[in-house]
């Protein structure tokens, strides 16, 4: 009976995760991180060879200038397969803390100086104009329209989880809406398929300005494992302009939340 259902629900203890515990959390995402102090040229070469999506690369160009090689990790291309972690002799690990969510495209790339055994720090790119406008207009009361442009539905499963009692996205004043016409932000997943490219453009055009577009997942950021398929047009920014990127395969609810808030905040 309805009464039993409601009673059971009311009697259950709260499971809501605090904002402090959520932001920057990446447990379960399988995203790699580098222990710079353990990095060697040999390990770097091995992990680059093992990476199935070329998320890990060595910068040869840099070598010519300074005699130093950099290991580059593009999180936008990483599907979290953990091959690199398994063969890295401890120099790479699956991280539980990860903050490169909701960043500009260049912000997805980290680099390490192999000889120096240290990360090469970069400046964070500036906030997009649309983000500033939406922030001043709406604060954080954001309406999101999710568009699946060809995803495997892994990202959808995690976006759906954002509304469960652990994450409760609505506590931030953020809602999912049923039409692009009601939206301030499009949350776009998937490598854009040839068969969805037109519908994605139409959804973008139907969204009133100012609007934000966030590309979600390895596929949304770079095409992911589907790069180079004849039936795929490319990542989201091959079809519509993108303001922020949330990597991961799939990104966890905490990473999605971190990314959505960061695109709004801008830092």
């Amino acid at each position: 009976m309805i009464g039993d259902v409601v009673k059971r629900s009311l009697e259950s203890p709260t499971v809501l995760i605090s904002v402090a515990d959520l932001l920057g959390d990446a447990s379960g995402s399988r995203m790699p991180d580098v222990r710079a102090e353990l990095l060697t040229e040999t390990i770097a070469r091995h992990v680059v060879d093992a990476c199935p999506t070329s998320a890990l690369t060595m910068e040869e160009h840099e070598a010519k200038i300074s005699g130093r090689r950099h290991l580059l990790l593009n999180y936008g291309e990483c599907i979290g397969c953990s091959r690199c972690v398994q063969i890295s002799e401890g120099a790479l690990l699956n991280t539980d803390k990860f903050s490169r969510c909701g960043v500009a495209k260049e912000g997805l790339i980290r680099r390490w100086d192999i000889q120096n055994r240290a990360e090469v720090m970069q400046e964070e790119p500036a906030l997009s104009e649309a983000a500033k406008q939406i922030r001043s207009l709406l604060g954080r009361a954001l309406n999101i329209r999710q568009v699946d442009a060809g995803s495997c539905n892994g990202c959808e499963a995690e976006i759906t989880a954002l509304t469960n009692p652990y994450y409760d996205l609505e506590r931030f004043g953020i809602h999912f809406v049923a039409s692009p016409k009601h939206a301030d932000m499009l949350l776009v997943t998937g490598p854009v398929t040839r068969n969805m490219a037109h519908a994605l453009k139409q959804a973008f055009d139907a969204t009133p300005s100012p609007k934000l577009v966030v590309a979600v997942g390895a596929c949304g950021c770079s095409g992911g494992i589907f790069c180079g398929s004849h039936a795929v047009v490319g990542p989201v920014d091959a079809v519509i302009p993108v303001d922020g990127y949330i990597p991961g395969c799939p990104p966890t609810p905490a990473m999605l939340l971190t990314g959505i808030l960061r695109v709004l905040r801008g830092h």
């Binding site: 259950s12 979290g80 568009v147 495997c152 509304t163 652990y166 037109h198 519908a199 039936a231």
Partner: protein
């Protein structure tokens, strides 16, 4: 699993027809491949007496006769065969392109030619027109109102009542089967995991088993146990979430939220013990990548038990609610004969009187040593499909806890040979039903990988459950089948 392979023969088609007509035989899949000399081949997989997969294959040089008029379940397979390989199925009642939408020129067949950089074409897709006084068309999609995948539904209605529903899918078609080709066999599971993300472990295990069967490699017992735990956990999570979503679709928000919380508890347990929420990266050809200690096994068993008990009690209260009964019962009936003619699989089949379950019929891995209870209903309505999921969650919990209690010791992965050039097939019972991978390997790489997904099989049955229902019940009926768009479109 018993499989029988027939050699090349022009009478393969007639053998397939005879088998399918003779009695208890079911079309499992139909697909093409290319021989080493460049000629094309057609394969039929048929389940005989619910216990033996027979693979019939034959080289083809021209058109083949269509099976669809005799076996309606072949309809989409034959359209796919033409899209992919340009093999015409003569006499097909509906030869429209399936996965290649009108933005593709009609003479492109991506599995036998280079289809990169093909310029956009323009064409028209004609839906079946329903004429008559007061008949209206309602187009829905591909972009839907919720957080769901894209697809198009074309309803023909009179007032609220649906006369006809036509599906137009394959918006998420990613050329996945082609993408497998030339991929190292050890990396194939990564692609399999991205065929249908919410059932990614079932896809990964089915793929790995097909490769292992091809190389005739036995997976160590502990790896089999960990795979079983992952497969059943995935089923529990899918079924618990589905029952919640069904409540959400009749405006009963409290159990929808409650069930999403039970599912999240299981996702968090997976993160804790396996460092992954959806078990990605765990299955690899030869075994698994992550071990489980006896202490962690005990803890996991406790979490699974309390989640299953919590869900069972909530499910009882849900089914006792008269307004839920009113909305679920007699809604979206899929009759047994309709289900049989379209070779429907999974929970939808078991709710319509067809007792099919790969774990029982074609046991694999640890399931060979376990007796499986296969629940069944014959009403074929939303309620039956909800009950199946509730019953199966209890079965999964028992399987997980029994396995955790008797967790074997030993290695979790064995190396694969890479010299031979074999073919292999394997099926698993995914949360949505029979999921089969067929692989052909060449020097350690995949030469061909065919995926029979339960969603591809079951989508054509959804329109048969709609006529006579009101259009407002469509989200509920659709959810009760809960099919994957990406799994279907690939």
């Amino acid at each position: 699993m018993t499989t029988t392979a027939y050699g090349a023969s022009q009478s393969t088609f007639h053998q397939a027809v005879e088998l399918l007509r003779a009695g208890n035989a079911r079309l499992v899949s139909l697909f093409g491949s290319v021989n080493d000399d460049g000629t094309r081949r057609v394969h039929y997989i048929i389940d005989v007496d619910d216990c033996e997969y027979r693979i019939l294959s034959s080289a083809v040089t021209g058109p083949v006769p269509s099976l669809t008029a005799i076996i309606p379940a072949a309809a989409w397979y034959e359209r796919e065969l033409h899209d992919q390989y340009g093999i015409e199925c003569q006499g097909h009642p509906d030869p429209r392109p399936l996965m290649l939408h009108e933005n593709w020129p009609p003479d492109i067949h991506p599995m036998v030619e280079d289809a990169l950089h093909v310029p956009l074409a323009q064409g028209e897709y004609r839906f079946l027109e329903v004429r008559g006084e007061g008949v209206c068309e309602v187009p829905v999609g591909p972009v839907h109102a919720g957080i769901i995948e894209p697809g198009h539904f074309r309803f023909s209605v009179v007032g609220d009542t649906v006369l006809h529903l036509e599906l137009r899918h394959f918006y998420t078609h990613k050329g996945t089967e082609k993408l497998f080709e030339k991929t190292p066999a050890m990396n194939g599971a990564m692609i399999a995991e991205s065929v249908s993300g919410d059932n990614c472990f079932a896809h990964a295990v089915a793929y790995c088993q097909a490769v292992e069967n091809a190389y005739e490699v036995s997976v160590p017992p502990k790896a089999q146990a960990i795979r079983l735990i992952g497969l059943e956990l995935e089923r529990m999570m899918a079924h618990i979430a589905d029952v919640g979503a069904l409540c959400g679709d009749v405006g009963f928000a409290v159990p929808a939220a409650y069930n999403s919380r039970i599912k999240e508890a299981l996702l968090r347990a997976s993160t804790r013990f396996f460092r992954t929420r959806f078990w990605r990266g765990i299955a690899v050809p030869g075994g698994v990548t992550h071990n489980l200690s006896p202490e962690n096994a005990r803890e996991l068993s406790g979490i699974v038990t309390s989640a299953a008990e919590d869900f069972a009690q909530m499910a009882r209260s849900i089914l006792d609610t008269p307004s839920v009964q009113n909305r679920f019962e007699t809604t979206g009936i899929l009759g047994r004969e309709a289900a049989r003619s379209l070779a429907v699989v999974g929970p939808a089949a078991r709710a319509s009187g067809l007792k099919l379950d790969v774990r029982h019929d074609h046991p694999y891995g640890l399931y060979r040593e376990i007796a499986i209870d296969v629940p069944g209903y014959h009403y074929g309505d939303v309620m039956a499909r909800a009950r199946i999921r509730i019953d199966e969650t209890a079965v999964s919990r028992r399987l997980i806890c029994d396995t955790l209690e008797r967790l074997p010791n030993g290695p979790i992965c064995v190396p694969l040979p890479s010299s031979a050039n074999p073919e292999g097939v394997s099926a698993v019972e995914s949360p949505r039903g029979e999921l089969l991978y067929w692989v052909k390997l060449r020097e350690g790489r995949i030469a061909r990988c065919h995926i029979k997904s339960p969603s591809f099989q079951n989508w054509p049955a959804l329109p048969l459950a709609m006529p006579g229902n009101i259009i407002a019940d469509f989200p509920l009926i659709n959810k009760s089948f809960n099919l994957s768009y990406s799994g279907c479109d690939r």
